[in-house]
Amino acid sequence: MVVLPLAGLLQRAPWSSLATDLRAHEALAALRLSLETSLGALALSVVFGVPLAWVLARRRFPGRSLVRALVTLPMVLPPVVGGIALLYAFGRRGFAGRILYDLTGWRLVFNTTGAIVAEAFVAMPFLIVTAEAAFRSMDRSAEEAAATLGARPAYRFRRVTLPAVAPALAAGAALTWARALGEFGATITFAGNTAGKTQTAPLLVYLDIESGHDATALALSLVLLGVSLAVLVGLRDRWVGNP
C-alpha cells in the first residue's frame, strides 16, 4: 500500500531531465512560494500554538476537553472542508473577514497571506499536540526548584521550561512545517490557484497533471517526497537517539 505508489513515482521519474524540469520558471516560483508560505505557517503555528499548548497542558478551565478536540479537529477534517470553513469566516462576506477588512483594509482570501493561513490551519495541530504532550509530561520538579530560587514565572518558562521541551518542540515544528509544505485542499479552496501568489508546489503538481505536463509534476513530486522523507528520517533518528 505504501511502497508500490512510491515505486511507481520513482519508476516514472524523468531522472535525465529533472534539473531542467525544475528550473522551469513556474516550478521554481511554486517551490519558492511553498517555502515562504510553509515557513510563514510554521511561524504562525509557533506564535499561537505553543502558548495554547501550554494553557491546555497546565491550566484547568471549563471546556478544556472541548477546546482540545477543536484544536486537533483539522488533523482529521478533510482539508477542503477546512478551506470552505476558512472562506466562510475570513472570506469577503465572512464575518471575521469583513471586520478585518473594515479595520485594516486587509484581505486574507485569494492571496499569499491566505495560503499561509490555510496551511497553518491544517498544520498547527501537529505542533499543538506535540507541544502539549511535552509540557504535560516534562518533569515539573525543576520548575519548582526555580521558583524557590526566586525566579518569576516568565523567567522560569524561558530558562527552565523551554529548554526542557525544546527537543519535542523541534520535532513538532519539523512535522508542522512538512505538513504545511504539502498542504493542498485548504489552500486551493481558500487561497485559490494563482501562479506566483498562491500557487504552491502541490497546487502546481495538480495543475500540471491535469494539463498533461507530467514531467514537471513528477519532478516537483519527487522534491516534495524527498523533503517529507528527510524530515521523517531526521525525526526518527532523534527519537531513536533519545529514547
Binding site: 526548584a145 521558583a147 530560587l149 526566586g150 518569576r152 530558562r159
Partner: protein, 350 residues
C-alpha cells in the same frame, strides 16, 4: 520574634497535616516515618502547596494565611529549599546552576558567576563548575543543590531529606558539609528526615511528626534520651514501654510488672537500653529483680555485637555479644529469660 512561625493546616488526600512550629536560633529537625507529612510541611512553607488553614510568618511578614487571602508565591518568600533529589537544571553547568537564583533576581552575569564560584568552593566543589549535572556524582549534585539554595541568601533554609537519595559512601561527606553550612547559615533552618540519627547529627532541636501531628518536641538530648513515641524509640534502637507507676513498680499496659529504681507514680514511659538486657537459657538467680520469660526471635549481627528481638510479656530488643549468641545458641530461637537491673531502667511521666 521567631524567624519562622508556622501554624500549618493542609489536607492532601488521606493526609491531614496540622501543626504549630517555631524556628528561632536553633537548627530544627522534623523527624517522622514516611507519610507523616514531612515533605508536605516543607512544600507548604516554601509556598509550593497552599495552606487550607493556619498562617505562616517569616521574619514578621505573613506569607500565607487563607483566612485573609494572603498567599505570597514561592519566588517572593525568601525560602531556599534543598529537595530530596538535587533537581538541578540539566541544561546548565554546575556553576550556572548555582548562579541561577542570582541571575533570576537581577544580579549581573559576572557578579553572579563570581559569587557562584565562591559558593561552589565553600561546598568543596571548586573543580566541577564546568560540569553538567549528569556528569556529577549523587553527593556532588546534592552539594551543588545546597550551594544553589544558599547563594540566594534566603531568610529560611529548608532541607527535605537531603541525604536520602545519596549513596551510603557519599553520605558522610555530604553530612559533614550540611552540618558545617547549617551551623554557619544565619537564617532560620529546618531539616526534614525520616532518620533520627541523621536528625541528631544535623540539628539542635527535634520535632517528631507522626500522621500529620507533632507527637514530641524538644532539645535533641531530651528527645533522644526520653522518646515519647514507639517509632522514635525503635529508630534510636531503644526499648520503649508504657504503664502506670506506683512507687518503684510499673504495671505495664499489658499487665506485666517492671521494677525500677525511681519512685514515681502515674502514667509512665519505661525506656530500656538494649545493652542493659541480659539473656539466659535458664531462669537466673541473683540480684536482678526484673526477670521475664520470652522467646528469642530475629537476630541481627553487627560486628561483634548482635541484636535479638525477644517476644513475651515484656517485648524487648536485647543487644548481646557475638560470644553470647554462640554460647546461648540464640540463632536456634526458643525459650530464654531476659533480665534487667532496676538501676538500668529509665522512667519518665507520659
Amino acid at each position: 520574634m521567631s524567624r519562622l512561625s508556622a501554624s500549618i493546616g493542609v489536607t492532601l488526600g488521606a493526609l491531614h497535616l496540622d501543626l504549630d512550629l517555631e524556628v528561632d536560633e536553633a537548627v530544627v529537625a522534623v523527624v517522622g516515618p514516611n507519610g507523616a507529612g514531612k515533605t508536605t510541611l516543607v512544600r507548604a512553607v516554601a509556598g509550593l502547596v497552599p495552606l487550607d488553614r493556619g498562617r505562616i510568618v517569616i521574619d514578621g511578614t505573613v506569607v500565607d494565611e487563607p483566612s485573609t487571602h494572603v498567599r505570597v508565591p514561592p519566588e517572593h518568600r525568601g525560602v531556599g529549599v534543598v529537595f530530596q533529589e538535587p533537581r538541578l537544571f540539566a541544561n546548565l553547568t554546575a556553576l550556572e546552576n548555582v548562579a541561577f537564583g542570582l541571575r533570576a533576581t537581577g544580579t549581573p552575569r559576572g557578579d553572579a558567576r563570581a559569587k557562584a564560584a565562591s559558593w561552589l568552593d565553600r561546598v568543596d566543589l571548586a573543580g566541577v563548575g564546568a560540569r553538567r549535572p549528569k556528569e556529577l556524582s549523587g553527593g556532588q549534585a546534592q552539594r551543588v543543590a545546597l550551594a544553589r539554595a544558599l547563594a540566594t541568601e534566603p531568610d529560611v533554609l529548608l532541607l527535605d531529606e537531603p541525604l536520602a537519595a545519596v549513596d551510603a559512601s557519599a553520605r558522610a561527606e555530604l553530612r559533614r558539609v550540611l552540618r558545617a553550612e547549617l551551623r554557619r547559615y544565619p537564617g532560620a533552618r529546618l531539616v526534614v528526615t525520616h532518620d533520627p540519627v541523621e536528625a541528631a547529627a544535623l540539628a539542635d532541636r527535634l520535632v517528631v511528626l507522626e500522621e500529620g501531628r507533632i507527637t514530641q518536641q524538644g532539645p535533641l538530648v531530651e528527645v533522644t534520651a526520653r522518646p515519647r513515641s514507639p517509632w522514635v524509640a525503635t529508630m534510636l534502637g531503644l526499648n520503649l514501654l508504657h504503664g502506670v507507676a506506683d512507687r518503684a513498680n510499673v504495671r505495664l499496659d499489658n499487665g506485666a510488672m517492671v521494677a525500677t529504681a525511681d519512685a514515681v507514680s502515674g502514667p509512665t514511659f519505661v525506656a530500656i537500653r538494649p545493652n542493659a538486657v541480659v539473656l539466659h537459657r535458664k531462669s537466673p538467680e541473683g540480684s536482678a529483680r526484673n526477670v521475664w520469660p520470652g522467646e528469642a526471635g530475629e537476630l541481627y549481627l553487627a560486628g561483634d555485637r548482635a541484636r535479638v528481638s525477644i517476644t513475651g510479656p515484656v517485648p524487648l530488643i536485647a543487644e548481646v555479644t557475638a560470644a553470647a549468641v554462640a554460647e546461648l545458641r540464640l540463632a536456634d530461637g526458643g525459650a530464654v529469660w531476659a533480665s534487667v537491673k532496676a538501676t538500668d531502667i529509665d522512667t519518665y511521666p507520659s
